[in-house]
Subunit: 223 residues, 2 copies
């Protein structure tokens, strides 16, 4: 049985969980707080970051959300995540990187630092300047999503793909942290409601991080 | 004919150039300074970052080093970059991400900011504290490479792979910027000498960025 080392507000863990659920890959969740830098976890992944997946019987260890997703997309046919011809696959990978690198660095990571890490780990107050800037950037990313969704139903090419699950994973963390203002973003809101209503999303939305409480609309498909 | 939008000190452009040369994909280089945010380039890639590849006749646009490499690995058999079984492919992708994300953020990007961007674009002096910290981190990364190369000839699994070309691309930028101290890193130095001696590496090492001059050993295979 696969084990997934993850924590509830890690967007990369969420991305993997959505993909595993869509593909029907059985797994056990192992809660890992990367900031504790537990020896056994550092031995698994010297970068000290979630997600990591381990299959003890097959002696396989997979590290990082994109290598994990590519692994299961190569080995499990159900619900292809990176599909179509080579050019479309490149477009799905590009949009996925956009969210994993750009949206993460500009909005998700600073919001996690200010609203989660400082509270849980450092016991400091958030830096309101950094918070404001990250929320402003998150709102710009919503504008960009609105633009993409004006031109198509999904975020990369004609079908539902890894790009959609990745964007939804990152947005769900920002939303949990109460940093998304959905007003004026009808296209993205409608798309996100569709994503939220998929069965893969339900366990994520039901989970809570200790101390940090999401806003009331967070787990509602109608929000 | 493919066009590759790139600039000489972009590590991601270098990664793509090494792969294209190894695979024998004909292409034309188009010099792009991303900091100029040229309208036509921003239309190609809203992230405003190199590398981008365009094939006008096929109307294909590929954006970002990993999507580009995956595209050519899927469509060109020669010199497979991400090879082996699914678990080995995951390991190659993980090590590639290690260099593209971790080495880049911790060392390459701050060094490019301090030693290239501030000089060419902002006309400011470098921040010596940031420089020192980035050089210290680069040295720690060399220690880690030494450790990996103590356990095998290549950086991911038993064969030469994308992980090696990616690491070499990033290191070559740090080396150009005069920020690598090779003393005490025999394993990595020997491996890098092998990488440098491959034909794919010669055009890169012969190229110069205006104003910024690399140290004397930079383009020597024996250094």
């Amino acid at each position: 049985m696969w084990q997934l080392f993850q924590f509830p507000l890690c967007p990369f863990s969420r991305k993997v969980r959505l993909v595993l659920a869509e593909k029907g890959v059985g797994h056990e969740l192992v809660r890992e707080n990367p900031w504790e830098r537990r020896d056994e976890f550092m031995d698994l992944n010297p970068a000290g970051e979630t997600p990591v997946m381990v299959e003890p019987d097959q002696a396989v260890t997979l590290i990082g959300s994109q290598p994990i997703v590519e692994y299961f997309d190569e080995t499990v046919d159900r619900m292809p995540m990176i599909h179509g011809n080579a050019a479309l696959r490149a477009e799905i990978r590009r949009m996925t990187e956009w969210f994993d690198i750009k949206l993460y660095r500009e909005a998700v990571e600073p919001l996690m630092n200010e609203r989660m890490r400082k509270r849980l780990v450092n016991r400091e107050s958030p830096d309101t300047r950094v918070l404001r800037e990250a929320m402003r950037t998150a709102s710009e990313h919503l504008d960009y999503l609105d633009y993409l969704l004006d031109h198509g139903r999904w975020l990369a090419g004609p079908g539902l793909s890894l790009a959609d699950f990745t964007a939804a994973a990152h947005l769900s963390v920002i939303d949990y942290l109460g940093a998304l203002d959905w007003r004026g973003h009808k296209q993205t809101k409608d798309w996100y409601a569709v994503m939220k209503s998929r069965p893969c999303f339900r366990p994520l939305l039901g989970e809570r991080m200790e101390v940090i409480v999401p806003p009331g609309h967070y787990d509602k498909v109608d929000f």
